[in-house]
């Protein structure tokens, strides 16, 4: 980060995550394309590989993906105060908007035009998440074992309803065994 003081970095993180929190509809995965855009592409604060590792950690841990990612990026860039700044930033927009809605909420149904607006937003959100996933795949899936692991995980996720944490742990185990296997092969060859 170019900001020199701790306070400056903290404020920059707060503001960046405030915008991310304000612009994410649907929460969770819908936030991934936005974080990637701001944190990896625009500011180049972390590399795309670190970004993928971050998603693994934030997915495997309890809590909201949004809050977890904000803490991880904030801590990586500016320590504990950075983590606090990003977490407050990503939470604040939801907090304020829901507070305003809760105060003014009436029993009447939603406005028809608003409903149509969101009917249009829904396919866009799916496209954004899918696009972010495919872009990540292009960068990180290189070896044939990567393709096998990725395809197996995708099939299991969609058709068996298996919990993502199980898949993440299985992926880490697969990585470790592939490494041991290739180390032994090298030994035998040498």
């Amino acid at each position: 980060m170019t900001e020199k003081t701790a306070l400056g970095r903290c404020l920059k993180l707060f503001w960046t995550f405030f915008i991310i929190g304000l612009c994410t509809f649907g929460g969770g995965f819908a936030m991934i394309p936005l974080i990637e855009r701001e944190v990896v592409q625009r500011y180049k604060w972390i590399t795309s590989e670190e970004f993928i590792d971050m998603i693994a950690v934030t997915q495997a841990a309890p809590g909201t993906i949004a809050g977890n990612s904000a803490v991880f990026v904030g801590y990586r860039l500016a320590g504990i105060s950075g983590a606090a700044g990003s977490l407050l930033g990503v939470t604040m927009p939801s907090f304020l908007i829901i507070l305003i809605l809760a105060v003014f909420l009436t029993q009447q149904g939603e406005h028809e035009m608003l409903q149509k607006f969101f009917a249009g937003v829904r396919p866009a959100v799916v496209a954004l998440i899918l696009g972010a996933g495919l872009k990540m795949g292009k960068k990180s899936i290189k070896a044939s074992t990567d393709i096998i692991i990725g395809a197996a995980a995708l099939l299991l996720l969609i058709f068996s309803g298996i919990h993502p944490i199980v898949l993440i742990i299985a992926g880490a185990a697969a990585g470790l065994s592939i490494q041991r296997f290739s180390a032994r092969k090298q030994k035998e060859a040498g």
Partner: protein
């Protein structure tokens, strides 16, 4: 009451895995069944609101329930409750991951993890699409959105707003 709100949402934040919709069963259990702070009908209204407002479902629910039970301070207590566990847990995990990133075993574990994460993100999109999209208009918009995402450098927020406005004319 403030402490009760904080404590309940702290537990939700600390023990619900999977984020977003994965947190719903626990929130429902605590807020609707155990504490009866909301009726099932009110809970499903919050989900509808959470879908059309920015931000994570868990935080939206916390803010709403807190306000309903104890005003502005209640929503602050509940919202803090749900985010504080993330702060503590991720700080510990991030410390471990960042310190050990040159470790051989860590590196090979993450080599195996990365394709799984790609699958999780692609899978999330497919599952959300299966549940929320229907009909050829949705599919055409999905295809157009995907093309924009992969072939151009448009900002995601621009795409969301553009498709929302298109929706007003199309649907």
């Amino acid at each position: 009451m403030l402490f009760e709100l904080f404590k309940t949402f702290f537990l939700i934040g600390a023990f619900s895995f999977g984020g977003g919709y994965g947190m719903l069963p626990l929130i429902q259990q605590e807020v609707v069944i155990s504490h009866q702070w909301l009726t099932m009908h009110q809970f499903s209204d919050i989900l509808a609101i959470a879908e059309v407002t920015p931000g994570p479902v868990a935080i939206n629910t916390a803010t709403f329930v807190g306000y309903k039970m104890a005003g502005v301070f209640g929503s602050a207590a509940a919202t803090l409750g749900v985010i504080v566990p993330s702060f503590i847990i991720i700080l510990c995990l991030a410390g471990v991951v960042l310190r050990n990133k040159d470790n051989k075993y860590f590196q090979s574990a993450f080599m195996g993890l990365r394709p799984v994460v790609v699958a999780l993100v692609v899978g999330a999109a497919l599952l959300i699409g299966r549940d929320t999209l229907a009909g050829w208009k949705d599919l055409i918009m999905l295809g157009a959105g995907l093309l924009i995402m992969l072939k151009t450098n448009w900002h995601p927020v621009l795409v969301v707003l553009l498709f929302g406005v298109l929706g007003i004319f199309i649907f």
